[in-house]
Amino acid sequence: MAVPAHSATAIFGLPSVWLAVTILLAVYAVIMVEKFNRAVLSLLGACIMVLSGVLTQEQAIHGIDFNTIGLLTGMMVIVAISQKTGMFQYVAIRSAKAVKGEPWGVLTMLSVVTAIFSAFLDNVTTVLLIAPVTLLITDALNIKPYPFLFSEILASNMGGTATLIGDPPNIMIGSQAGLSFYDFLVNLAPIIPVIFVVTMGCIWLIFGRQLHATDEARELIMEFNEHEALKDIPLLKKSLLVLGLVLIGFTCAHGLGLEPATIAMFGAALLLLLQSWEHDLESKNHDFEGVMAEVEWTTILFFVGLFIIVTGAEHTGVIKLLAAELLELTAGDFDNTVAAVLWTSALASALIDNIPFVATMIPMIEDMAPTFGGEEALRPLWWALALGACLGGNGSLIGASANLIVAGFSQRAGHPIAFLTFMKHAFLLMVLSIVISHLYIAIRYL
């Protein structure tokens, strides 16, 4: 008979609980130092979990959530192909022209565009597409890009909160808690516009009033020709077709008993097939390899390692212990537990990577099901985790990868964003968004 993993004594004579916790904390700590590639660290930690005997290889592989991996990879492929069409630049320029180059209008439009794109694409991808165009537009307007980039960072994290596919924490939560695209749309999407409008109001008070551009500069914006941005019309049609199919698929998937990963991977395969339909085999292979090179393997392999590490900790029973600890702190009261999850997630995500945090929180919340009367009753806790972890990313410059990417752009353009300058405004706006979320959850679910 197999020995249960949590009672096994692993190598070095250490109890497996301590080994698993040490590996988990060590990996998280080294990730925070930001001196190494995080995928390498998480894969290394995952291997040590197996090598040291905390998990068997089979248990480790079983711990990987392939629904999350498939959804992420599929969406990355679809975006990698469709961004080549220039449609994102087209929308950004179009929106800047729609408000006749008036700076506050441009800022609002670009933020709305960022939020909407972020709801359906990866946040990092969204800012990678929008930030360079923003710098070009602010250069043309001859005004400082900081308020624009600040607003786009916040918008990308807010937009990402709204849907199942908007932000990796949501993908994980949806996949592991069995929540559908539609569930997220009905439960999270309604509050995001409220938070967005309030946040934009504050940004207007902080920066908006002082934005000013000359008439000549605004004329320049009107001279941008967005149609020139659309480089490949046939590919644009194929991309829009596949994006449309995938969105319909996401909305209907649950009812058909399909997982989102199936939809995303099908969309990816279909677009890979269509993108070079007319070409010969050699250039088809070349196009395929080009797309593969653009997929963010760091993120995907980071997830793979992380799932194994968290599974290791789960097997030793330490996560159950943490869940019990939290329940004790909140005295088993559901309202308090929801509040604790929301605020802890928000504060933690402002300072550490929200992906490992959420990966650890998910099994913890699952362990609370018996206390609160089953899986169904846990739903408000999932929404609290999603809102906290995604919006919390706005709390500081290191709160989300998208924030750091924008900061990098800004620095290269000669306008470095200081950590504290950003935090001064962003942290308060993050807290405000969590207050609104708290009210929303309290009114709707508690």
């Binding site: 930030a131 710098l135 070009l136 320049l220 001279e223 020139e228 480089k231 752009f409 290269r412």
Partner: protein, 159 residues
């Protein structure tokens, strides 16, 4: 055929401490594509070429490839602004030069020079130096083509 046989030896150079404005004047006035930067001992320390100057005045987000092409953008006056800033910024040749220009030695074969040009360089010339890095001359892609064109078949066989 050796590098030293086809190189141009009358090369206009500049000193590392020469103001950028003077270097740009030289590039424009003499229709040059490259000016080697040479110290007082005749040693090659870098090179300035037309492309590297353009590289410095194009916005960073275009140089890094974040925004690969901007067919939709009008002339927003950025290049002129940055160019003026570069000229008036009080910078010296050593501040803006390429620190690792493609170099070949005087005795290298035509094949080797051509390989260096094709594989290493984003520019259309290589700089010829001796073993002490003293600048001896410049070879452009045109020089190679002309050498091949002018050479008799027996010359080429010897290569």
């Amino acid at each position: 055929m050796f590098a030293s046989k086809i190189m141009t030896t009358e090369v206009i150079t500049c000193r590392p401490d020469q103001p950028v404005r003077e270097v740009v004047d030289l590039l424009v006035a003499k229709h040059l594509r490259v000016i080697p930067v040479v110290d007082d001992n005749g040693k090659l320390v870098g090179s300035i070429n037309t492309l590297s100057i353009l590289n410095r005045i194009v916005p960073e987000y275009i140089v890094t490839g974040d925004l690969k092409s901007v067919p939709f953008a009008p002339d927003i006056g950025l290049l002129r602004k940055h160019f003026k800033a570069l000229e008036d910024g009080g910078k010296q040749a050593c501040d803006i030069m390429e620190r690792n220009p493609t170099k070949v030695h005087e005795h290298e074969s035509l094949l080797s020079v051509t390989a260096a040009l094709i594989t290493y360089d984003r520019f259309e010339y290589v700089l010829v130096v001796d073993h002490d890095d003293t600048l001896l001359g410049v070879i452009s892609s045109g020089d190679i083509l002309r050498a091949l064109y002018a050479a008799s078949p027996s010359d080429i066989e010897r290569v």
